[in-house]
Symmetry: D2
Subunit: 214 residues, 4 copies
């Protein structure tokens, strides 16, 4: 299977973004699945086009997008993306869209088509803190997750979803009481997420895996 | 105008729910607008029918539903309801639906049609802490918000939305470091929310009010 | 009995300090006990002298000092003051002492001589969230608590202690997810604290009241 | 130099305690300094005697005690221990002392004699989140820190102090939104703490290292 994995660059005053550092650490293949990496700037304008161009070129079976959710202590597997862009800080173009629709012809929301609860279960099995999140916010992370799922529908037979990771330890040294996670654990987490997503791809069992997890 | 306001009873081990206590304190009329109150049990089964029956009987112009979000420190005005019921605790019937659609024929999500940012602005103007929230969860609160908006569309010309309120001080006495808000401030908040919703009802200016607020 | 109650002015970028607003709201007498109020600037230099002068003039039986602990959600009754001044922000004189002893001839720490657990119990009885705190920090609040207790020992037969109060709602309007408490509840709390402190003054039962409360 | 390092066993319903797991991972020597390890049960009764016996036998130059502070996101270097035992949960003997003095003939409090701010600086230098804490609580951790410093004074020329570490990732898998730190980073942190403590032992520069850190 071919897996497209995307990650953002640093934003909001940070010097690094764990999402792109994870991409750097991942190899080109995991468990026999080929990885395509797409580094994205944290911008509203242009990133959906970069994404679509990559999808057309690489024809992935699965898209997994990564972003930083500063302050959250665990890996959060996003459940849903909503059709709105509403920024409270500037993106890396200085843009702050307010209550704008992401896609005129899109659904109000798209649910992740990754096996979100099987992923959480498998991460916990490997002692990595994880949970399902019901909001990817309304900034660029939600924007890309929404576009992942909109385009997955357009190009057919693609599973897609979004994963938020905490700050790295190096990012919280001067923040008061902020949680963090080591890069090692993040990379390990993403490998598990890739394997689990590949395993459940096209499975009728998807529902079975979606048990009581919060 | 006629405003339907709903509130839940206590759940999850609590003895009270601020939502229904607020309903008790509200009069029958605010600023010339007639209030219809609907007390709802915190249950998945039956409450959507109670809601629809009330809507058919009362024919409200606006529906505002109230619920408790224990742990949040401020009034949170919900932006969106999603088409999923996924409980991590039992409702008051002992039911715990897992990843069930709320409405087979409903949208993936509905956005609040209340002026959510004007509400936050007006609350802050009156020194009541408030913010926009991007998730009403996946328990009974999201379930009723979803049904509010589904039914508002079905019965036409109804604005609808959901407001989460914090714990009352009496609920946090034996909880470690949990935030709360006085009932007086909650009642005052809901009165402001009713007035603001009535003021913006049918307004072309709805967008104008939706400025940069997070 | 005569009770000296102190409160600070605004600091750290805030425009108000609930501590001095509480003092404004308190009457001159509570339950037959005479109240002496002392408004203190949030400064290291000079405030201990203002305090001592007031003690010599008013000869109080009890000293209760109030301060703001922004972010805490409940009334916190401080257990102990430590002999160190170590500021991470400037006081209202622009002073930032680093690891300085407060009193060369003082103890390493003084324990509050107010009935701290009876106070917490009585506050909860009246539905006001409260708990015992084991640290008043190392800024001006700890500095005044330390001086209260140092001077209480010097001038004999004085009970003394410190109470931290949360932000007021008006202070958190533009803070993300910060807890607050209404001024009404704070004033009610301080009245209960005064009554409880007077009731236990000189009591052999002090220990009895100090049950299992955290 | 000889360094005594102590760590507790699991308590409060946990199955592991990172403190003793760190001890397991440390070698017998760090930077030429000999390590003596003391595993302590999380109990009030008997542990001070175990500690004193070990001190008499090993004659350490430095004592560093480790404990778990569940919920804190970073390494916290304790500043002060207070002369009180006040438990809100049972220790591993089922004991819950309430407002008891730890030592009849001890000071109200003892300040850490480790270079607490140089430690924080050196940890951050190595990208490990750390801060100074002003309270080690009133449970067994504070009890051992107090005894460390009481005995350090009794046996002369010993520096002593206490370090709290966060939960391990494995401990928070079923806790809602709780921070954690990897064992690797904890072990690395303790090695830095040992080296820094040895470096500053007996130094006149102790003060110099105690800069503006919070």
């Amino acid at each position: 299977m071919k897996i497209l994995i995307t990650g953002f660059d640093a934003f909001g005053g940070e010097k690094i973004n764990p999402a792109s550092l994870i991409l750097d650490k991942l190899g080109d293949e995991i468990d026999g699945h080929k990885l395509e990496k797409l580094f994205l700037p944290t911008k509203f304008v242009g990133t959906a086009d970069l994404l679509e161009k990559k999808i057309r070129g690489a024809r992935p079976d699965i898209i997994i997008s990564l972003g930083q959710a500063g302050g959250r202590p665990d890996i959060t597997v996003e459940r849903v993306a909503i059709n709105i862009a509403d920024a409270s800080i500037a993106d890396n173009d200085g843009k702050m869209p307010i209550d704008e629709k992401i896609r005129r012809d899109g659904e109000n929301a798209y649910f992740s088509t990754l096996p979100i609860k099987a992923i959480v279960e498998n991460l916990r099995e490997e002692k990595i803190p994880a949970s399902v999140s019901n909001s990817a916010g309304t900034f660029v992370c939600n924007f890309i997750m929404y576009n992942d799922l909109y385009l997955a529908e357009k190009y057919k037979n693609i599973s897609a979803g979004f994963i938020h990771v905490p700050y790295l330890p190096a990012q919280v040294l001067n923040k008061r009481a902020a949680a963090s996670m080591s890069l090692e654990n993040m990379v390990k987490a993403v490998e598990i997420i890739i394997k689990t997503s590949a395993e459940y791809k096209g499975s009728e069992d998807l529902k079975k895996a979606e048990g009581r997890i919060c």
